[in-house]
């Protein structure tokens, strides 16, 4: 009932066990595009789910699906709730899911791969000075990654100090003024707005990231879907920052000459 859970099931090669998925998963994952759709986060269809007679319904804990969950349980359908907000939660969820569907080994391998990538990236980053950063989820209204999200761990591993870590929630809505006052040295923009990130932020020259050309655009799905391939997401983000660094350093080098 959630795209990150669907991705986990596909990654664990368990998609043949699926009898239905949520709308978002069906739209974005070719492997499950032909499966029956049973609604989304805000409008799950109890009837559609029950009609498929599933052995198990996997959902993320949410206020929106609280009634949905209790109705399913009343009807005798087993419901597994798997949280996916922090890194530990995601990895634990993947292991729990793997254990439940008989794919423990595959889940363990994925978890180990993600953990070791985290360690590798953090080790590489430790050779360079840490920088402050903000990861933009949405520009207008402005949402950023706060201290409570797995993306905070991702920034940390990449050698970046999340300027919004002071907010404990995963995705706080902050003011533009806060962003300017925080003055991050790197801005990572994962919003889906059609205006390019560098162009959008260029008018706030007083932000060090803008002044030094460290505004990095990353595709939203790659970074912000808490799925089974967080190791790839982390690598992609680090590579994007690295290439922005190289472009800016080359530019500064040229200016000096």
């Amino acid at each position: 009932m959630n795209p990150s859970l669907t991705r986990m099931l596909i990654a664990l090669e368990a998609q043949q066990a699926l009898v239905g998925v949520d709308e978002y998963s069906a739209d974005h994952e070719p492997a499950v595009a032909t499966l029956p759709r049973v609604g989304g986060l805000f409008n799950p269809s109890l009837e559609a789910v029950v009609a498929l007679e599933p052995d198990l319904v996997v959902i993320v804990p949410s206020v929106q699906q609280r009634d949905f969950r209790s109705r399913l349980r009343e009807l005798g359908v087993e419901v597994l709730e798997l949280a996916s907000i922090t890194l530990d939660q995601i990895l634990e969820s993947m292991q729990t899911l793997g254990d439940r569907i008989g794919r423990s080994q595959a889940a363990r391998e994925r978890v180990v791969a993600i953990r070791s990538t985290w360690v590798d990236v953090a080790r590489e980053a430790s050779h360079r000075p840490r920088r402050s950063a903000v990861l933009i989820v949405q520009r207008d209204p402005l949402y950023v990654v706060g201290g409570g999200s797995y993306l905070n761990s991702m920034l940390d591993a990449a050698g970046l100090d999340n300027a919004a870590a002071e907010y404990s929630e995963p995705y706080p809505r902050v003011s533009l003024e806060w962003l300017i006052a925080a003055g991050p040295r790197v801005i990572i923009d994962s919003s889906t707005d059609p205006v390019p990130a560098i162009e959008h932020w260029s008018r706030w020259k007083s932000i060090p990231a803008v002044a030094s050309g460290r505004v990095v655009a990353v595709p939203q799905s790659l970074v912000t879907l808490p799925g089974p391939y967080l190791d790839h997401s982390l690598r992609t983000m680090v590579a994007a920052i690295r290439s922005a660094d190289e472009v800016s350093d080359a530019g500064e080098g040229a200016k000096l000459q």
């Binding site: 986060l41 949405q138 209204p141 907010y167 003011s175 533009l176 003024e177 707005d193 008018r203 706030w204």
Partner: protein, 339 residues
């Protein structure tokens, strides 16, 4: 009813004007980044200043405070006008469905715009287009029959608003999570996504609205006696109604398209000022412009600071702060009248 002398008009407007100036100062000083007053003044003195303080004061707070004042003024003035024209104390700027049209236009772009490559900056023009279309429909209904009653106008508004909110619910259920968040904010009303470029436009509509309706103040006073009595006293009710309809709709459309559906300003500021200053529209219309502006700027300053760097939609504050304030004043007024 107290007699309205030029002296009383001037002194009342002077008090409200200084209230607005004070509110603007508070608006410029308040913010999560804790800039000192000295720092703010030095940046204000130098228009070409650079650096974080200049960006915050000149490019974030100043346009927001100015636009907040303009939006507040537009909403309060159109509230007064609708209450007078419809002779209904419950009328607010949104009662005739103009806001529903604007909301529908804006949310159409918010939810489906990204599919056709339209970003957030396309929202205000779309909302304003929605407002113009609604106004045209209302005008046609009011104009077909010269003797159209305020009841038909009110009913048209109610039906149109219901239609628009149903369409919005439909669009919101199709939208993704991020669009859903934007739609929600837009329905409560927020000044956080304002653009400097639109300030001039909103100002133009406010000036236009005030310019056309202040000369009508005397005839609006007479309409309070009822349509027939007013006509016997030489008021052209139909002409008055058409001017008020168009002027207010344009003000509401301008306000809603940049700030979303900020509630309460257009309802309580007119009533509040009527309680304090009396019902004469010659004073009430300009006073509402100043009072509405000051009120919204203060509410937005609270919305920006209360959660430490996080944004709260100003629409939540206007109702939270405005409701109790209004009830308290109403109670005090009744006590005074009874004693």
């Amino acid at each position: 009813m107290k007699v309205l002398t030029p002296m009383r008009t001037l002194s009342s407007l002077a008090v409200l004007g200084s209230l607005l100036v004070g509110a603007l100062m508070v608006g410029l000083t308040a913010g999560p980044s804790g800039l000192g007053v000295g720092e703010i003044l030095s940046v204000l003195a130098d228009r070409d200043a650079t650096g974080p303080a200049a960006d915050i004061v000149l490019r974030v707070r100043l346009p927001r405070v100015l636009l907040g004042a303009l939006v507040g003024a537009c909403l309060a003035v159109s509230g007064v006008l609708f209450q007078a024209m419809l002779r209904n104390p419950l009328a607010d700027p949104y009662v005739l469905g103009v806001s529903g049209g604007a909301a529908l236009g804006g949310i159409l772009v918010l939810s489906l715009g990204s599919a056709v490559g339209l970003g957030y900056e396309a929202v205000p023009p779309a909302a304003f287009a929605g407002c113009l279309i609604t106004t045209a429909i209302l005008y046609a209904i009011a104009g077909v029959n010269a003797r159209v009653s305020t009841t038909s106008l009110l009913l048209t508004g109610v039906v149109f608003n219901a239609f628009a909110s149903a369409a919005i619910v439909f669009l919101a259920s199709m939208a993704g999570l991020t669009e859903g968040a934007s739609i929600f904010l837009w329905l409560i009303g927020s000044l956080s996504s304002i653009r400097v470029e639109v300030t001039g436009w909103v100002a133009a509509f406010l000036v236009f609205g005030l310019g056309f309706t202040i000369p009508l103040a005397r005839s609006l006073n007479l309409s309070a006696l009822g349509g027939e009595s007013a006509e016997q006293l030489g008021v052209d009710i139909d002409r008055q109604r058409r001017i008020v309809l168009i002027a207010s709709s344009l003000m509401v459309g301008a306000a809603v398209s940049v700030a979303g559906m900020i509630g309460f300003v257009g309802l309580i500021i007119p009533h509040l000022l009527r309680l304090i200053l009396g019902p004469d529209h010659r004073l009430l219309i300009p006073a509402s412009a100043l009072g509405g502006a000051a009120f919204l700027v203060i509410c937005d300053a609270i919305a920006r600071t209360i959660l430490n760097g996080r944004e709260l939609p100003v629409g939540a504050i206007t109702a939270l702060a405005g409701g109790p304030l209004f009830l308290w004043l109403l109670r005090r007024y009744h006590q005074r009248v009874l004693s």
